[in-house]
Amino acid sequence: MSRQSLTKAHAKISELTWEPTFATPATRFGTDYTFEKAPKKDPLKQIMRSYFPMEEEKDNRVFGAMDGAIRGNMFRQVQQRWLEWQKLFLSIIPFPEISAARAMPMAIDAVPNPEIHNGLAVQMIDEVRHSTIQMNLKKLYMNNYIDPAGFDMTEKAFANNYAGTIGRQFGEGFITGDAITASNIYLTVVAETAFTNTLFVAMPDEAAANGDYLLPTVFHSVQSDESRHISNGYSILLMALADERNRPLLERDLRYAWWNNHCVVDAAIGTFIEYGTKDRRKDRESYAEMWRRWIYDDYYRSYLLPLEKYGLVIPHDLVEEAWNRITNKFYVHETARFFATGWLANYWRIDPMTDTDFEWFEDKYPGWYSRFGKWWEAYNRLRYPGKNKPIAFEDVGYEYPHRCWTCMVPCMIREDMVMEKVDGQWRTYCSETCAWTDIKAFRPEYEGRDTPNMGRLTGHREWETLHHNKDYSEIIQDLGYVRDDGKTLIPQPHLELDDPKKLWTVDDMKGNVFMSPNILLNEMTDDERAAWATAYRANDNICRV
């Protein structure tokens, strides 16, 4: 279509909306934001006549690549260290995708300007595309990769696993609570605009370095829809900024959304990239370096900062603190160690780190070895069953961490742990900001103003609570993370499949009783609890065994 006829087509499609006089669309999902003063914007409409063939063409390339990968025996070159983590990642991500679809009518409901409704509805279809194309990729992995265990129970495992729950915020957070907080600030302004770059570009690039070129094919195709979504979100953000009354809410939501995305996405994707790769070239960018480029420069400096001229208060402090956690506080490395400590609660296998890995880590993150080296040596030493318990139940100088009530990632940066009695219960938080999110932000009142539409933090947020005081051999059977011989576990702390004696079974788990840190915390006396908190914050968790 020529530019001129495109303009005419847009104008004609705009004529499809009308001013209702008999009844107005139901407001099913409320917001405390107001859009009465929102300026009329007329973003370009998506024309379905070009949209469908364009997406079909992209699909054809994806499906062509899938056929090619199988014909070309891609799996002879794929690193198991890498693909195991995809059992986790691909179990989570289709849900955020389809939740983004569900979020669209919430944005349509909340923002009365019909000019943007069309783009939001098209985004909904994109998200259905993303969700099912990712499920299909996972099926291909299950069919062609050496170890299908974990892929085969993917959606069940996602729903009953601690890490699945952490990932589920990225999804439930899009569709629950204040319609604008959820569908605009959390989903689009932060998750899509900032973090899809690490999810859908940086991480797939690392896949390619590990012999898997299908993940990049699929995810780059997904990412190519993202710029439209980002501009949908930006239009709504500008409309919200037109009304002074929205300012405190915008400030609140940016702080919450930024921090929660950082806690969740950086933990997961950081671990996949740093601990799932075999590529240890010194000139390979570390996750921190990628983050600096994608998030700090491209998002913070080029997208968020310019919004200051509209009077938006940007959470500079939290951007800097996220960077500080990633570099100086070893956030990603603490997460990887936590995942590996809890290997027996996973539905994927985790490869031990080797001297080559150690060297790379020390080079990219100076000081790494003195904090984590000995622990990974212990992980390696304890990787087979028989002579020892799983590392979580052995004394390797690592104190099992308490969970953050808000982001549900454990409080791994010990000195930052916050403990508070909230809603009659002692809770721990990974950071001041996560404490603020629960105590101040997700409440029916915010800074003296009613916020009835704001969401609530609900559910059994501490996963360990569900399994408190049970023998781990029972827990793992309840979870179903057992292979088809009825006894060998799906998770293993190594990649060696050649000898059954190296594989942990249900029997090897017997006698290990699992305790919920939060239940124990609430059972303590006040004095015990205070002493515990002091010791927890002071514990450097350096392995000296």
Binding site: A9, K12, E15, W18, P20, T21, P25, R28, M48, F52, P53, E55, D59, R76, V78, Q79, Q80, P94, F95, I98, S99, A101, R102, P105, N118, A121, I125, V128, R129, T132, N136, K139, I146, D147, P148, A149, D152, M153, E155, K156, N160, E172, I175, T176, G177, K278, R284, P444, P452, N453, M454, G455, R456, L457, T458, R483, T488, D498, P500, L503
Partner: protein
């Protein structure tokens, strides 16, 4: 591929390709042959691609979700609570889309449709197909087909898009999202057809649709039902009222029993191509709708109460849709060549509606014959 040992002119570094032998079948060990998604029971012996990519993607405490919804609304639980509709099911996850829509089918089918329509419109332009249109027909299309495109667009953005937030399972969600895509595409095709006609040699008022939809007496009751639909909060009622009642008594009446019948006789062979695509969409969408409501009517525990509930929904929506249908009656006499009477068209629409109700397991409401 990347392992060709050609020396690069400048020093660039690439990841090394390594032979890992990580193919299926390289080793035998527990679960090494476990190559199906094992957390749901497929409808047939083997799971379809559709089932594999759709079932259980959105978790549910009724399935495997153990920690519950981790976010809630200010006034109630999060997720997609079952009480967002008065209809009840023993197992919402039982529904599977008979069209098996997923990513590949959505884009394949809709791309094929837009290509066909595009081709048809280009040929029409080249062949000056609109030159033969008589003045009454031109006016008829401008006003009535023009008015109708608003209805389609309203249903896309405020009915189907909205249902897919509120309905409980991933399978219902995906089917309804596709329905929204159909409606949006169809509304736009009608709008772009309207644009083509405005730009042809034909005397055609490209803005007449606004007045007809906003104020024309033939269209006010239809606009009223559409607006009332968008104002309905109960998602299942909304789906029933739209796809079972409105689409049969008003949508099919206009598209299938009028436009498809009279266009050719008035020298217009373009409209049936476009409207026919819309009819084809409805055909697909009515089949998932039929399956869903059949399940609800046949539900062992809630079938009886659902039947009663759907009865009350019909009491509410059938008269409104009949009003809309009746108000349209005058447009049957507008074309120069009147092939069909309103009475004939309406009779046929009523029969199809009754047949769909029968297939679902519902009796025709008494309002239908009043």
């Amino acid at each position: 591929m990347a392992d060709s040992p050609v020396a690069a002119p400048t020093k660039r570094s690439f990841p090394r390709v390594e032979f890992t032998d990580s193919e299926a079948g390289a080793l035998e060990f527990p679960s090494s042959k476990s190559r199906t998604y094992n957390y749901f029971k497929p409808a047939k012996l083997r799971a379809t691609v559709y089932e594999d990519v759709t079932v259980d993607v959105q978790p549910d405490p009724d399935r495997y979700l153990t920690q519950g919804w981790i976010y809630g609304f200010g006034d109630g639980p999060g997720g997609y609570p079952h009480d967002w509709t008065a209809a009840k099911s023993s197992n919402w996850h039982q529904f599977l889309d008979p069209n098996e829509e997923w990513e590949q089918t959505i884009f394949r089918n809709n791309a094929a449709v837009v290509r066909q329509i595009n081709l048809c419109l280009e040929n029409a332009k080249r062949a000056n197909a609109y030159d033969h249109w008589n003045a009454p027909w031109s006016k008829f299309v401008a006003q009535n087909l023009g008015a109708w495109m608003h209805a389609e667009n309203g249903l896309a953005l405020h009915v189907f898009t909205s249902i897919q937030r509120s309905c409980p399972s991933n399978m219902i969600n995906n089917a309804v999202a596709v329905n929204a895509a159909h409606k949006m595409r169809f509304a736009q095709e009608l709008a772009l057809f309207n644009l083509d006609l405005s730009e042809s040699h034909l005397e055609f008022d490209g803005s007449a649709h606004k007045e007809a939809w906003q104020n024309g007496s033939e269209w006010q009751p239809t606009r009223k039902v559409v607006e009332e639909l968008t104002a309905t909060g109960d998602w299942c009622e909304l789906l029933f009222a739209t796809n079972v009642v409105f689409e049969q008594l008003v949508g099919q009446l206009f598209r299938s029993e009028l436009m498809m019948q009279v266009s050719a006789r008035n020298g217009d062979y373009i409209t049936p191509t476009i409207v026919g695509a819309g009819e084809n969409d409805y055909n697909r969408d009515s089949s998932y709708t039929r399956v869903l409501f059949q399940l609800l009517v046949q539900d062992e525990k809630f079938g009886a109460s659902n039947k009663e509930l759907f009865g009350t929904w019909m009491t509410k929506w059938v008269p409104r849709c009949l009003d809309a249908a009746n108000a349209m009656q005058p447009i049957w006499s507008q074309p120069a060549d009147k092939v069909r009477t309103y009475a004939e068209s309406f009779q046929s629409a009523k029969e199809k509606f009754t047949q769909m109700l029968e297939e679902i397991g519902l009796d025709a409401p008494k309002e239908l014959n009043q």
